[in-house]
């Protein structure tokens, strides 16, 4: 079936131009029609120079997307009909699905709205495709997890938790920053932050590992979402090149956005880290391994080619890379400390999990984290675990808990600081670049500090051991015990 308009006088590029850029025209009042184009100080002299690799025509798009969704929903239906949730490696794995739904599905929705805005604000039809794609991803995730929601806790009120729970503040802050940004910044954020850091890890390696753990539903949804993101990634890199080549004045602006969004995405990826290292009963690659293969090495290559354009690796690159040996462990330990009030379950890793972590993080894991995790297991076994009930102080930029700032004294101190309390120097730097904007976040943080999981949702939180999820899963599987 030939869905390409093959005219002998037109090559592929000319065809693409005729189907996209050429549809627009020079309107009589461009400033009134596209006011946001001049919002950020970016200068564009020739829009037709923008390349968009992998850009399909609408016909090709419908055909390919229709094909993808036909297959995907057949899998989703079959999984539900066969009670596929019974085939999960272990009910602990369901908590990775919860975190995906709670943190990342709403981000896809926000990306959908942000791209719709960028498409309209810039007058770029190609970005309209991305807006539709992100709507697709948001919906795929809702539909794939819908079945799990019927049988497991921790999914039913994901929108409420996204808006109010401190654990998800890092996700909502990220989503809202994207939504609040001007159109050029949005597209750079997606190109150098969201796609290369979050999507290339969460929607690639994690989804493959999910399949291995019996989750054909979410993993199929994730992998097919990623097929769109490949297009976005290619378009995004071309977008960055286009911006810096249009005018030298654009270079420092783009570099600042690169520095900011790479870092914000790195902070957000700590949630992907715990999914990869702690929530997969059948292990796959470690978080550090997939960071190296899918984030670090590809980005290093890309920035190497961008040197002649005047761009450099993000200013916080070294610090970001160095973190990856520790971040998943630190994040998991913190979640365990706050387990009672979380909208999902946590647990002490068993002996074989600890051994796997030792092997994957030689030296550092045993020296820095194993003792704490073993201590945790011991406390749980003897019912001696201290329960943290106050929400932690959240970083004024990324909204992850600030290390060492826990308890009501810390919260009181943070109140005085009015949101100016940071987890790291890069976060402080981002804040200072637009202090007015980021100060607004203090009110949201304060709201989250005072919000607690309602009593009616107690079954959603706490340890996995003794949970309704654990009990139900055993019962459904005929009382089988899991390691």
């Amino acid at each position: 079936m030939d869905t390409t308009v093959k005219h002998p006088a037109m090559n592929r590029n000319q065809r693409t131009q005729a189907l996209t850029h050429d549809l627009a025209w020079q309107v009589s009042q461009p400033d009134a029609v596209f006011p946001a184009r001049s919002l950020e100080g970016i200068r564009i002299h020739d829009w037709s120079a923008l390349r968009q690799p992998l850009q399909p025509s609408v016909e090709q798009y419908w055909k390919v997307q229709g094909d993808k969704d036909k297959r995907l929903y057949a899998i989703t239906d079959a999984f539900a009909q066969n009670n596929g949730q019974l085939g999960l490696s272990d009910a602990r794995f369901a908590n990775a699905i919860k975190l995906l739904l709670q943190a990342f599905s709403p981000i896809e929705y926000s990306a959908h709205r942000a791209c719709a805005r960028a498409a309209r604000q810039l007058g770029l039809t190609t970005v309209a495709f991305q807006a539709a794609d992100h709507l697709r991803h948001n919906q795929l995730e809702i539909h794939a997890t819908s079945h799990f929601n019927k049988y497991f806790n921790g999914m039913h009120s994901y929108t409420e938790w996204f808006d109010h729970h401190w654990m998800l503040s890092v996700a909502k802050s990220y989503a809202d920053d994207l939504l609040s940004a001007g159109p050029f910044e949005v597209m750079v954020a997606m190109a150098v932050g969201y796609n290369p850091v979050i999507c290339n890890t969460l929607y690639v390696s994690y989804m493959s590992a999910a399949a291995d753990n019996g989750d054909m539903s979410t993993s199929s949804a994730g992998l097919t979402a990623q097929s769109d993101k490949v297009r976005h990634q290619a378009a995004g890199l071309a977008w960055v090149e286009f911006l810096v080549q249009q005018d030298p004045a654009n270079v420092p602006l783009v570099q600042a956005w690169i520095d900011k969004w790479f870092w914000r995405s790195v902070r957000l990826s700590s949630l992907v880290g715990v999914m990869q290292d702690y929530m997969l009963p059948f292990h796959s690659h470690s978080w550090q391994e997939i960071w190296t293969t899918y984030v670090q090495q590809p980005l290093q290559q890309i920035f190497e080619t961008w040197k002649p354009l005047g761009l450099t690796l993000p200013s916080n690159w070294a610090q970001a890379c160095e973190q990856q040996a520790h971040v998943s462990h630190q994040t998991w330990l913190r979640l365990c400390r706050y387990s009672a009030g979380l909208p999902l379950h946590v647990w002490a890793p068993n002996a074989s999990a600890l051994d796997w972590l030792s092997q994957k993080y030689p030296g550092t894991f045993d020296a820095m984290f194993r003792p704490h995790l073993m201590g945790l297991a011991h406390q749980i076994a003897h019912g001696q675990r201290p329960q943290e009930t106050t929400a932690p102080v959240l970083c004024g930029t990324c909204q992850l808990p600030v290390p060492g700032m826990a308890g009501s004294a810390a919260l009181a101190q943070a109140k005085n600081l009015q949101g100016r309390c940071f987890c790291s120097l890069p976060c402080q730097h981002i804040f200072n670049l637009d202090a007015d904007k980021h100060s607004a976040q203090a009110a949201s943080s304060a709201q989250r500090h005072s919000w607690a999981l309602p009593a009616s949702q107690a079954a959603d939180g706490g340890l996995f051991d003794g949970s309704q999820d654990e009990h139900n899963f055993e019962e459904w599987n005929g009382g089988a015990q899991h390691p």
Partner: protein
């Protein structure tokens, strides 16, 4: 190291594509994990529509490749007949 890579979902549809890539790129290596195949190649990698058609025994539109595409790394150059990934700009 300047590897390019491309990864696909593992299924009947992507098999001729993977086979074509390995046939046309002697220095490429394929690594399988559950549901995924990742093909690495030093410097560049080319995917030819004609080669896929040979493997498949039917006409093929390179656009169809996107159905099972998961990720890639490298600068893209494409037309109706071939798709190239490289680090040469």
């Amino acid at each position: 190291m300047s590897n390019v890579f491309i990864a696909f979902q593992v299924n009947e549809e992507s098999r001729p594509v993977v086979d074509a890539i390995l046939a046309d790129n002697p220095n490429a290596t394929a690594v399988y994990s559950p549901g995924l195949v990742k093909i690495d190649a030093p410097n560049s990698l080319v995917i030819k529509r004609e080669s896929i058609e040979e493997q498949l025994g039917q006409r093929y539109d390179l656009q169809q490749m996107q159905v099972n595409l998961v990720t890639l790394s490298g600068h893209i150059d494409e037309d109706d007949d071939q798709f190239t990934l490289s680090w040469n700009h």
